[in-house]
Each structure stands twice: as structure tokens, then as C-alpha cells.
């Protein structure tokens, strides 16, 4: 049966990617399991369910999450997203966040405090993977092909939203929590500045949803520029987070190493560099796809673990390592990038499940911060677009279109805030969950606002279904290129009935 054989062959060709998805899922679930292994039904508010009932509840809950993550990563969902011009945060991210919230509820008792504590390794690994994903977008060879003055666009679209958000949020934080300013000379002021910088870091990244629409309205060069700008905006957010990690050390109280803050910048970049070279040597020395997967998993896990150990965000170190890996010569770089990108979606959904479970939306301060965050961020993006139009390359679309195209929030923003909270929550304050609310609700509000404006304007329709122009060579960047799904492998026996 040639058709069946062909299907099988194609199935095998896709094996590494499918497998790496599976393995990462298993790893995430696996790293999250000790809590229910040790204490099957320990939620204090529950009326003493039997251990087996509690265990089954957790198993069924995680199984449901697994199935839904598989479903949500399906190409069909992506097609619907693109057709509606939605980001992953709104389309499939929100359900996972809400599912995390529901699982966290004491009466459900699936993601209890203990389980969340044990989810930390999964979180670290997930952040590491996303860091690699972000870093691998920083391919100097691709950036060299961009028109002159594109860096102005990147700078304007990163720095202005960052500054606007940081300043406005700092002012609001001081208003909400006067102790930030009343204890002059204490650490509180620095904490407020640090928090505002972190929110600013979340403001820079932008989701690449509008590239195809821009290709139709302004040409493929403009679309390519916008796609690259969104990728570089993600990196800008990670850079700010790195600076925060260096200058506001979360582990100084108990660490054996006492270094000046500036030295931490060197440690961070050195560690990222060493891990990047290590990953490169490992991946290059692999003799098969399976070995490559194993080395990649190991490299990301060790990078995330080491970063966490040193009190540095895994997102930052792994981004440096990923950037190095992508810029060194490697024949199978494209496959490697595809492999990383393929897992990014399901990984991000599981990540959002954990984030949702860690999210405490009850504090009103977060809800107050959210609209300010959106206002500052979208305003910053639109002002940045005007600046970019003025100083950037001539191929750009009009400032309004560009601003709106770069406004939807990138998934990396939530990863950034989760990483920040994970690092600093033990050391300073219970106020950090406010920022999670601001970032999550802000993402949703941004989406609603942008969609409303876009539809009112009628100028930038984020509808990709009737694109008349082909995308630029090489796709629209990692966030937009959707690899074709393979034909499913054929497992049925070649001949005969049931044996």
C-alpha cells in the first residue's frame, strides 16, 4: 500500500518534533507530581476525602489538562486564532489560566499549595525553554537582512512602552501603597522601583499576530520588519529582567557568593555564554535526532537549574544561551528552531495552567493596576509607532496601523512576570501577585481594546484568511510561521486482520 507507506514515512520524518512535545509534556507533568505522590488529599479545607479519591481527582485533573493542551495546540486552533486575529493569551491561554484557578480552588483540590510548591521545577524548566525560544529569535544573520534604521523601530517600540509603563505604574504603586515612599532610606523605595521596572519589562514584548494583515496592506517587507520587531521586543523585555536580576539580588541574604551588582551582569552573561557553548557542542556532537532531543532537554534543564540556583531568571540565562546557539554555525539549525518552536505552544499552555493556579485575583490593587498598565503600554506602543515612522525605514505601514499591530501582548510578558514573582516573592512581599493580575487582565484588556479600535478603524483587519500576497521569504518570524502538520503515521498492520 504505497499511500500507507508514504503516510508512515512522513510520520517518521515528523517523529522528533512530536516526540519532543511528548517528552517535554511528560517532563513537566513528571516534575509536578511529587505532591500528589506524597500527600494525595491534603487540602485542609476538604472534608477528608479518601486518599484514593483525592489521588484520582488529581490524576483526572492532570489528564484533562494534558488532553486539552494537546487539543489547544492543534493546527485547527491556530488557524482559528489567525482568522480571528487573536493572540494565544486570549484564544487558548485564558481557558488554561481559568482552569488553573479552578484547579486551585480548595473545593476542587487538584493544584493545592503543596502541589504548587512541587511545580517549581516544571516552572523553571518551562521558563528555560521559553528563554531558549526567545533567544533563538536573535539571529544576527537574519537581522542583517533588515532595512536600515530598523533598530530605531525596535528601540522606540521597546523603550517608550517600557518607560511609560514603568513611570505610570511606579506612581500608581506609590499611591496604592504609601509605605513605598514613607520609609525614606529603607528598601521599600527600591522595591517599588524594581516592581515598576518589572512591569515595564512586561510592557515591551508584543505578539506577532498582525504580520499577515500588514503584508496585505503594506507589503511583505513591512510585514517582515514588524515580525522582527516583535521578536526583538521580546528580547528587550528579557534584557530588562536581566538587569533587575543583577541589581536587585533576590538571594543575597543566604548566598555563599557576595559579589557587587555589576559583577552579576558578568556572571549572568558568562553563564549564559558557557551554557550556550555547551548546548552548541552537545547538539553538534549528536548523531541522531533522538540524541539531539536528549541533549537539548538536558541543556535546557541544566541551564534553568543553574540560573535558578544562582538567583537569576532562567528566562534570561537561557535566552543568552539560545541566542549564542542560534548564531553559531550549525547545519540543522532550522530543524532545531522548529523543534523549539513546536513545543513552545503546549509548553506555554501548561505554563499558563501553573500561572493560573498561582494567581490570586482577589487583591483589588491588581485590578486597579491593570487598566493603567494597558493605557501606558498601548499608549507607549502608539507613541513609539509615531516615533518609529518618523525615524525608521520607509517601508513601514502608517503609524496607527503599526502601533495597533504591535499592541497585543506577547505571551512572553506573562512568562516574564511569573519569573519575576518566582524570584522575588520569597524575599519581598505579598504584593507581587498584584502584578500577575495586572499582566493577565492587562493582556485581555489590550486584546479587547485593540480589536475594538481595529474594527472601528476598518484599516487593519487582522483577518488572514484572504491574504492576497504571499508572506515574506522565511515566514514572518518564529511566532507567525506555522509549520505544516504531518500526515498521521499509520500503525495498522500491513496485511491480514487481527492477529
Amino acid at each position: 500500500m504505497p499511500a500507507a507507506e508514504n503516510c508512515l514515512r512522513r510520520g517518521r520524518f515528523r517523529l522528533p518534533r512530536a516526540l519532543v512535545s511528548g517528552f517535554v509534556f511528560a517532563l513537566l507533568t513528571l516534575l509536578s507530581i511529587p505532591a500528589f505522590a506524597d500527600e494525595p488529599a491534603s487540602a485542609p479545607e476538604l472534608q477528608a476525602p479518601s486518599p484514593k479519591t483525592g489521588l484520582l481527582r488529581v490524576v483526572i485533573g492532570l489528564a484533562v489538562a494534558l488532553i486539552l493542551a494537546i487539543a489547544a495546540a492543534h493546527p485547527l486552533v491556530r488557524r482559528i486564532e489567525r482568522r480571528l486575529g487573536l493572540t494565544v493569551i486570549v484564544s487558548s491561554g485564558m481557558p488554561f489560566l481559568l482552569m488553573g484557578l479552578v484547579f486551585r480552588h480548595p473545593s476542587v483540590g487538584i493544584l493545592t499549595d503543596d502541589i504548587l510548591t512541587d511545580l517549581r521545577p516544571a516552572l523553571e524548566f518551562g521558563l528555560g525553554w521559553l528563554g531558549f525560544y526567545v533567544g533563538m529569535q536573535f539571529d544576527v544573520r537574519e537581522l542583517d537582512t533588515l532595512p536600515e534604521k530598523t533598530s530605531n523601530v525596535v528601540f522606540a517600540e521597546s523603550a517608550i512602552p517600557f518607560l511609560a509603563t514603568a513611570v505610570l505604574c511606579a506612581l500608581l504603586l506609590i499611591g496604592i501603597e504609601p509605605s513605598f515612599m514613607s520609609d525614606i532610606g529603607s528598601d521599600s523605595r527600591w522595591i517599588a522601583i524594581r516592581d515598576a521596572l518589572a512591569l515595564g519589562a512586561c510592557a515591551a514584548p508584543a505578539a506577532p499576530v498582525a504580520a499577515v494583515a500588514i503584508a496585505r496592506s503594506a507589503g511583505s517587507v513591512a510585514a517582515s520588519i514588524v515580525a522582527r520587531v516583535t521578536a526583538l521586543n521580546d528580547i528587550a523585555g528579557v534584557v530588562v529582567l536581566g538587569l533587575i536580576c543583577a541589581f536587585f539580588r533576590p538571594t543575597d541574604a543566604y548566598a555563599a557568593w557576595k559579589l557587587p551588582h555589576i559583577a552579576w551582569l558578568f556572571v549572568m552573561s558568562g553563564l549564559g555564554g558557557v551554557l550556550g557553548i555547551l548546548s552548541y557542542v552537545l547538539v553538534r556532537s549528536s548523531s541522531s535526532a533522538a540524541e539531539e532531543i536528549a541533549y537539548l532537554l538536558g541543556a535546557i534543564a541544566i541551564s534553568a537549574g543553574m540560573s535558578g540556583y544562582l538567583g537569576i531568571s532562567p528566562l534570561v540565562c537561557c535566552a543568552i544561551a539560545g541566542a549564542l546557539l542560534t548564531n553559531l554555525p550549525h547545519k540543522r539549525l532550522k530543524d532545531l528552531k522548529e523543534m523549539i518552536a513546536q513545543v513552545e505552544r503546549p509548553l506555554y499552555l501548561i505554563f499558563l495552567l501553573i500561572a493560573g493556579a498561582s494567581w490570586d485575583p482577589t487583591a483589588w490593587q491588581g485590578w486597579v493596576l491593570a487598566p493603567i498598565f494597558v493605557f501606558a503600554r498601548v499608549g507607549g506602543k502608539i507613541v513609539g509607532a509615531h516615533v518609529a515612522k518618523f525615524t525608521g525605514p520607509p517601508h513601514l505601514p502608517d503609524a496607527g496601523t503599526l502601533g495597533l499591530a504591535l499592541s497585543p501582548q506577547s505571551p512572553i510578558a506573562i512568562a516574564t512576570i511569573v519569573s519575576y514573582i518566582t524570584l522575588y516573592k520569597p524575599a519581598s512581599g505579598s504584593h507581587l501577585p498584584w502584578f500577575m493580575t495586572a499582566c493577565i487582565v492587562g493582556g485581555l484588556l489590550t486584546e479587547i481594546t485593540v480589536q475594538a479600535i481595529v474594527r472601528l478603524r476598518g484599516g487593519l483587519r487582522l483577518d488572514t484568511s484572504r491574504s492576497s500576497r504571499p508572506p515574506p521569504p522565511g515566514g514572518f518570524g518564529t511566532g507567525v510561521t506555522i509549520p505544516a502538520m504531518p500526515s498521521p503515521p499509520n500503525f495498522e498492520k500491513d496485511s491480514g486482520g487481527p492477529s
Binding site: A37, P121, E124, V274, G298, G305, M306, P489
Partner: protein
């Protein structure tokens, strides 16, 4: 090899540097597990390459690497990290069992059934009797047995004998995968170790009930306990088979109706079922084995193709699984019981050889296969360690020391057994007869 040695050194140095950042007694919850996972995976793969270069099994490299990095030697991977990483066992056992089930076609094995039953039966019978007798004879050298009356000595010796007779399906399958071996020796060996595993689990339940009766003392309570033990064993075995059939049906439906991201689904289900099964007193090995057997033998799904789909996952899983096993080896325990452990290991090997040879003669296995088949019996791993640990947990007094003695012996078998079996596969000519799987690279 030089590159592997260099990378191994780099990985060790990096982790040592990271561990120096925090005081020795401090442990980080999330980062520690991630660091340990990455370190163990990378270091063990390099160690495997080094061992492969000197013609030893990669698996021994994984074990050695885990042992050196583990709490017994360098303590780069702490006890807590080892505990966290033991969760890989669920996936590993599930994948191994599913692969084994997917490879065992009853129609093909029908001709070998006699060989499997006679050889396995002979080897296990001799092993249980021989090892138990040796322990009984050496009772005065085991501190905890010195003051026991005859009956108790007998029961303890029998219990230890059963545990120490356990074979290792995981090591056998791992080595067959690693060497890309195929042929009658592989198929018979795989059948024997899988069936042997079931027999040992059943026998352990029986002797545990006997030991309970002996050490609890009160007849009625003991009889009740024995009855409940028997019921538990039945639930354990038939419950596992029933759940395995359900799993097989789930896989079948998924493959027929969905057939997308198959590897993801299988790995996830293996993990969840293994973890849940363990907590529900079901055997993950038996569950996934049944699922694999069901798919291969009762459906039109081709088990080998399914196995091929999950093969690349086997490499990292095996590496971490066996490294964690190596890290779990207790040097301090082994040091105390090294003499007894060596004696037990030698006795076990001898009686397995004799029993196996007699069984092979009865089964009329060709001499060229007889020469190598018995080497599959000497390895020990997960099942034996699990039963020894159960012994320690269940019998708080004598069980602790007995378990430690057995773990010493298991440590020897764990290190030497794979070397012997790999060598046998190579010399028999079965190694490399099919394309080596992911684990072999």
C-alpha cells in the same frame, strides 16, 4: 571519546560551581530538581559514550555516573534530588513495559513457550531454593538472624531468597535496545525475564504473608492477614491486567480515531497510569505490558511501529532512570555487608546457571543458544530494589538489615550483570541484527 570526557568534565565542573553558590545544607525546591535532571541526563549520556568506547554497556556508564555524582561519593546530586528524579521511574517503567509488550507476539513466541517455561522455571526454582539455603546456612553471620528460632530463620531466609532471585526486565530490554539485538536468544530471554518478574511478585506476596504469620504470632490474626494478603495479591495482579486492558483500549481508540501527536499521548498516559497505578497498589509494569500485549496480539495495530514511535524517548528516559538507580546505590550500606553480599551474588549466579542449564536441557534448546542465554539472568535492577525496599518498610526489625544486605548484593549484580549480558549478545552474533534504537546512539 575525548569529546565525551571533555563534556563530562565541563558538566561536572558547572554543577559543582552552581552547588557552591549556596551553603551545603541549603536546598532549592525547584531549581535543584531541574539542575539535577539536566546534569544527570547530560553527564550520564557522556559517561555512556565513554563506556561504549571501551566496549562496556552504556547502561553501566549511566549507573556508574549516577553512583559517582550521587550522595554516596561526590554528593552533587543530593538525596532530595534523587528523590525528585525517581519520578522518572514511572515513565521509564511504562515505556519499557509497553515496548516489551509491543515486541512480544504470542504467535511468534508459541514455539518458544516451552523454552521460556522450562528455562525460566528451572532458573528461578533453583535460585529461590539455592539462595534461601545459603542464607539459612549463613544465618549465624547475619546479625539479626543469630537469635532467631529455626522456624523464623527459615521464613526470613525464604523471603530474602525470593527477593534476591528477582530478574530484571528493564536491564534486559535496555540492553537489547542498546545493542540492536534480535534473534532467538533475545526473544527467549525477554520472555523469561517478563514471566519471571510476575512469578517473583507472586512469590514475594506469598512469603510476605508467611513472614507476617510467623512474626505476628497470633494464629487467627495471622490467618486473617494471610487471607487479606492473598486478596491484595489477586487485586494487584488481576487489577493491573484489567487496567492494562483498558489502557490498551484507550491507545487503540486514540490511534484509530485521533492519531495525532501519538508520542505525546503515549508518554503522558504512561506516566499518569504509572504514577496513579503505584498509589492504587497496581503494578505499572504489568499494566503497560498488558496494554502492549493487547495491541500487538489482539488488534490490527502493529506493536513494533508503535514502539518505533516512542523509541527516541527511550534514550533520555533510560539515561536518567539508570543514573538515578546508580545514585541510589548505598555505598555505606554496601561497605558493611560487602562480604555477605559477594557470597550471595556468587551463590545466586551459580544456582541460576545450574537451574537455567537444567531447564534448557529439558527444553532442548540448541547448545549454541544455551551458551549465552543464561547471561540474561544475572542482572538485577528495579524489581529487586523495589522488593528489598518493601522488605525494609514492612518488617521494621529484621527487615531493615536484611534489606540492606540484599541491596549490597543487588548493587553487585546491577553493575556486573549488564556487562555480561551485553558481551553475550555480542558474542552470540545477535547484537546489531536490527537497527539499533535511540538508546544505542
Amino acid at each position: 571519546m575525548i569529546r565525551a570526557a571533555f563534556l563530562l568534565a565541563i558538566v561536572f565542573m558547572l554543577v559543582a560551581a552552581a552547588r557552591s553558590f549556596l551553603p551545603q545544607e541549603t536546598s532549592l525546591i525547584g531549581s535543584g530538581a531541574a539542575l539535577a535532571f539536566g546534569f544527570v541526563l547530560l553527564a550520564s549520556l557522556q559517561a555512556g559514550t565513554l563506556f561504549s568506547g571501551i566496549r562496556l554497556p552504556r547502561l553501566t556508564g549511566y549507573l556508574t555516573c549516577g553512583f559517582i555524582a550521587g550522595p554516596s561519593v561526590l554528593n552533587l546530586v543530593t538525596h532530595r534530588m534523587v528523590g525528585d528524579l525517581k519520578l522518572v521511574n514511572g515513565v521509564a517503567i511504562g515505556l519499557i513495559a509497553l515496548s516489551a509488550g509491543g515486541e512480544l507476539n504470542f504467535r511468534r513466541l508459541r514455539g518458544r513457550l516451552r523454552s521460556i517455561l522450562f528455562t525460566g522455571g528451572g532458573a528461578l526454582l533453583f535460585a529461590i531454593i539455592g539462595v534461601s539455603s545459603a542464607i539459612f546456612a549463613l544465618a549465624n553471620y547475619f546479625v539479626f538472624m543469630a537469635d532467631m528460632p529455626f522456624g523464623q530463620r527459615f521464613v526470613v531466609a525464604l523471603t530474602m531468597g525470593v527477593v534476591f532471585s528477582a530478574l530484571s526486565p528493564t536491564v534486559t530490554l535496555a540492553l537489547i535496545s542498546e545493542t540492536g539485538a534480535a534473534g532467538p536468544i533475545c526473544e527467549t530471554a525477554l520472555g523469561i525475564v517478563v514471566v519471571g518478574d510476575l512469578v517473583i511478585v507472586l512469590a514475594f506476596a506469598g512469603v510476605k504473608a508467611l513472614a507476617n504469620a510467623t512474626f505476628v504470632g497470633a494464629d487467627i490474626a495471622a490467618a486473617g492477614q494471610a487471607h487479606s494478603e492473598a486478596a491484595a495479591v489477586m487485586t494487584h495482579i488481576f487489577g493491573s491486567i484489567a487496567v492494562g486492558l483498558v489502557l490498551g483500549l484507550v491507545f487503540l481508540l486514540y490511534l484509530k480515531k485521533v492519531n495525532q501527536r501519538v508520542a505525546l499521548f503515549i508518554v503522558g498516559v504512561c506516566f499518569l497510569s504509572a504514577e496513579a497505578g503505584t498509589r492504587l497498589h497496581l503494578d505499572p509494569l504489568l499494566m503497560c505490558l498488558t496494554a502492549g500485549l493487547f495491541l500487538e496480539n489482539l488488534t490490527d495495530i502493529e506493536g513494533t511501529k508503535l514502539v518505533h514511535e516512542i523509541e527516541p524517548a527511550v534514550m533520555p528516559v533510560f539515561a536518567v532512570f539508570f543514573s538515578v538507580a546508580g545514585a541510589g546505590l548505598h555505598w555505606d550500606v554496601f561497605r558493611h555487608y560487602v562480604g555477605l553480599a559477594c557470597v550471595l551474588a556468587i551463590v545466586r549466579a551459580t544456582v541460576l546457571y545450574i537451574g537455567g542449564s537444567i531447564g534448557m536441557a529439558f527444553a532442548k534448546i540448541p547448545p549454541e543458544q544455551r551458551k549465552y542465554l543464561h547471561f540474561a539472568f544475572y542482572s538485577q535492577s528495579g524489581v529487586a530494589i523495589g522488593l528489598a525496599t518493601l522488605l525494609k518498610e514492612h518488617f521494621a526489625g529484621w527487615g531493615v538489615i536484611a534489606g540492606d544486605c540484599l541491596l549490597g548484593g543487588i548493587m553487585i549484580n546491577e553493575m556486573i550483570g549488564p556487562v555480561l549480558f551485553k558481551n553475550a549478545l555480542t558474542r552470540s552474533g545477535e547484537a546489531g541484527k536490527r537497527a539499533p534504537t535511540a538508546a544505542a546512539h
